[in-house]
């Protein structure tokens, strides 16, 4: 298949997934910001919750170039609607649709219609519209659009190379985003010893789990109180949790082993190594190493896999 077509499909996958995960990240922030804690005890080593999505996505500089105050509305505007923020939901849906327009021949017409109608709706929404709908309701809509596109893709698309590149984009983005969402807990709270395991801690972990649709799964698997160690296990190591790093790497590694040929053995090796670290990893080792440090290392490695995919198969970004 054309490298440019593969490129567009890969970026459709990434952008739709990014829109969904930005919605998830804003959702967890929104939930956390409603917790009473920081109103009662201001200044207790709390990071301002609205800084979290900016910091974890590396968007703080861009944000402060446009906004003075770290207010909820400003962050929401920047992360949802701002055309100058390439990771905003608006920009992601637009980019996905533009790529879709360029390669509509490589997908089914239902897929293109779905991307197109998501964009046509997004285009009519301004901040007043988001508020009128309700923040959570709007973020839910974004997630549902992503679910719908994924459903149409899985349900209608030929299982060919085009499908592989689209899914590769989806899962590389998801692996990256899950790691970032999990790491938000590190930014939210530098806990004093007394807080660990307390009510606030519980709610923070709970809302984080909810934001990755992991709350019910956690309950089913562990039938127990929420502990950071188990959340980490669930979202990093468990292969049966579809948004976990391990599950993402399973898919990525499978796809790459199929796509790679003699020109791309290094890519296959990088992906295989990262996959093995998750496949054979132990929760205790991660916790000893430090979850934050572990996630930072993972983001570097998964980023390197993404770059190598671009270099080997796609049209390199200008």
């Amino acid at each position: 298949m054309l490298s440019r077509t593969a490129s567009d499909l890969y970026w459709i996958g990434r952008h739709v997934e990014r829109a969904e995960n930005t919605a998830r990240l804003l959702d967890v922030t929104y939930r956390t910001s409603m917790l009473p804690y920081h109103q009662q005890e201001p200044g207790l080593a709390w990071a301002e919750p609205w800084a979290v999505p900016l910091v974890s996505c590396g968007l703080a500089t861009g944000f402060y170039a446009k906004h003075k105050a770290l207010a909820a509305e400003n962050v929401l505007r920047y992360m949802i609607l701002d055309a100058s923020n390439p990771s905003s939901i608006w920009s992601s849906l637009r980019a996905a649709r533009e790529s879709g327009r360029a390669v509509r021949g490589a997908m089914t017409s239902e897929m293109y219609e779905d991307l197109n109608s998501a964009w046509l709706e997004m285009r009519t929404i301004d901040f007043a519209g988001v508020q009128a709908r309700g923040i959570s309701e709007f973020l839910e809509w974004v997630k549902m659009r992503s679910h719908q596109f994924r459903g149409v893709t899985v349900g209608t698309m030929l299982r060919d190379e085009a499908y592989s590149f689209l899914r590769l984009g989806t899962h590389l983005e998801r692996a990256d985003n899950t790691a970032r969402i999990l790491d938000t807990k590190y930014h939210i709270l530098l806990p004093s010893a007394a807080d660990v395991g307390g009510a606030v801690d519980y709610y923070q972990w709970a809302s984080l789990l909810q934001s990755v649709s992991g709350f019910e799964s956690y309950r089913r698997i562990y039938s127990d109180v929420i502990s950071p160690r188990r959340v980490a296990e669930l979202l990093v190591l468990r292969a049966d949790m579809p948004r976990s790093l391990h599950a993402c790497m399973n898919l990525i590694d499978d796809i790459l082993r199929e796509l790679c040929d003699d020109r791309s053995r290094e890519l296959e090796r990088m992906s295989g190594e990262l996959h093995a670290r998750l496949h054979y990893g132990r929760t205790d080792d991660i916790m000893r190493f430090g979850l934050h440090e572990y996630l930072m290392d993972f983001l570097l490695r998964v980023g390197a896999v993404g770059s190598e995919v671009s270099r080997r198969f796609l049209v390199p970004m200008a």
């Binding site: 054309l2 490298s3 077509t5 021949g105 197109n116 046509l120 796509l259």
Partner: protein
């Protein structure tokens, strides 16, 4: 002076023509509210499907829907039979003409067309002299613009032989109509058009320089081209890659696509890029859309381009008046379709005639297209006529003039209900081992009352075109 127009639906006695009866009944029986619903449904579907076109000169990325009219344009079987024979004849002659002027030039030896009109034409590509093209086919796809006037006779307005567009609307309009008005299809036997992409692909594979499983690609200038939707549509329908210039490269006179598995040879390119932009080494050096070395590969016979390079000389408006002569010269047949009488401003006597009657004639630029750069005399202002007079006098070679034709009308939904509006027709003529016309075409309709300009860039709309089998 009131003019009479050929009415596609009603005879001169006001009675509904037999082939329109089912539609007339449907119009009479369906409440306006129901029709309005259907129209909204069509608009929504076209938007969602992304069947839009970009308008030249507007902010890049502006996409518009071409207004779609629900009342079909119907052509009776016998009428179509004549039209089809005429189109096939015309395109065969035009292909023979192109083959001739790039090879033996028999027509120049005392033939009916003055040599300087051809060799001096800016659309004549001297580089193509002596280049062999498979099957001697130059215009693989022709979109011949036809109108009906007088008592319903067909006149050819233009032979579009370069990169004619619009066929995707023919196909999508049909799909839409079958979805919206299935009851009418049940009542009438409408000949299908959906096999167009198959015929096209078969023809393209047939002109490959290599017999064995040739690779075909559609080449587009890119997403900002006004016909981009159509390019993606045709590539998808034929199941071939849609490439841009940047996706191709030439090595040792072979053309390759850049793919995820490395270079892959391409044998036939259905290109929707103008000659000038195909190869910066051979033509415009500033072209960012083309492929360096493509022309050399083409000359070497390693890749086939459809349409061929240099077809523009045959559909130029200054050559148009000679097409009936070409038909006699190459085929020894009488032309079946009429040409519109054309005054050539480079001839002093005809120029004088034109300048005296600017308020009655339509003046066109010989290289113009899309309804741009033309003067519709009866609808013009004195200032516009003065401006054209000056332009014609300064550069008479660039202009031709024709009488304003009494274009036929077809019932059309407008604000006030259903009213007659002027229409034209662009059938698509495909040349391969044989010359075929898919029974149908794109009917364009001038939505403004009295307007004769049907171009979508000038506010025209489209209709589905039904050719009946009996």
């Amino acid at each position: 002076m009131p003019r009479t127009f050929y009415d596609e639906m009603h005879g001169s006695d006001g009675a509904v023509r037999p082939h329109y009866q089912a539609v007339a009944d449907w119009l009479a029986a369906t409440p306006p509210v129901r029709i309005a619903q259907k129209r909204e449904e069509a608009d929504r579907a076209f938007h969602r499907l992304g069947i839009t076109f970009a308008v030249t000169g507007e902010e890049s990325g502006t996409e518009r829907l071409i207004p779609f009219d629900l009342v079909p344009r119907i052509i009776a079987a016998a009428e179509w039979a004549t039209l089809e024979r005429g189109l096939v004849q015309r395109v065969r002659a035009l292909n023979a003409f192109l083959d001739d002027i790039y090879h033996d030039q028999r027509i120049l030896e005392g033939g009916p067309v003055p040599a300087e009109r051809i060799l001096g034409n800016t659309q004549y590509r001297a580089e193509m002299r002596g280049v062999e093209v498979p099957g001697r086919i130059y215009a693989h796809v022709a979109g011949v613009d036809v109108v009906r006037a007088g008592e319903g006779e067909f006149y050819v307005l233009e032979d579009n032989l370069r990169v004619p567009s619009g066929v995707s609307y023919m196909l999508e309009n049909r799909k839409m109509m079958m979805r919206l008005l299935p009851e009418l299809f049940a009542a009438l036997s409408v000949r299908p058009v959906q096999h167009y992409p198959d015929v096209l692909l078969d023809n393209l594979r047939g002109v490959s320089p290599e017999r064995d499983d040739p690779t075909v690609a559609v080449m587009t200038p890119g997403p900002w081209n006004s016909a981009y939707f159509e390019h993606t549509f045709l590539a998808q329908q034929m199941g071939v890659e849609l490439v841009e210039g940047q996706d191709l490269f030439v090595r040792d006179d072979n053309v390759y696509m850049k793919t995820t598995k490395g270079p892959e040879r391409v044998h036939v390119i259905y290109r929707r890029v103008d000659d000038d932009f195909l190869d910066p080494r051979a033509f415009r050096p500033d072209s960012m859309l083309g492929v360096p070395g493509l022309f050399q590969a083409y000359r070497a016979g390693r890749v086939t381009l459809a349409n061929a390079i240099g077809t523009g000389v045959a559909d130029d408006k200054s050559i148009y008046p000679y097409v009936p002569e070409m038909i006699r010269f190459y085929l020894a047949e009488d032309p079946i379709l009429h040409n519109v009488p054309t005054f050539q401003c480079y001839k002093p006597a005809e120029r004088a005639h034109v300048l005296e009657r600017l308020d009655q004639l339509v003046v066109k630029e010989t290289h113009g297209a899309g309804g741009y750069g033309m003067l519709v005399g009866p609808a013009s202002t004195q200032a516009e006529r003065d401006a054209f007079r000056a332009r014609i006098q300064a550069d008479p070679d660039k202009y031709i003039a024709q009488p304003t034709l009494a274009l036929s009308t077809c019932p059309t939904f407008v604000e006030a209900g259903v009213a007659p509006r002027h229409v034209d027709l662009r059938p698509y003529v495909l040349s391969g081992k044989s010359v075929n016309v898919v029974p149908g075409g794109l009917t364009r309709v001038a939505l403004r009352q009295g307007s004769l300009v049907v171009n979508s860039s000038q506010g025209g709309g489209t209709k589905d075109t039904w050719v009946l089998s009996d």
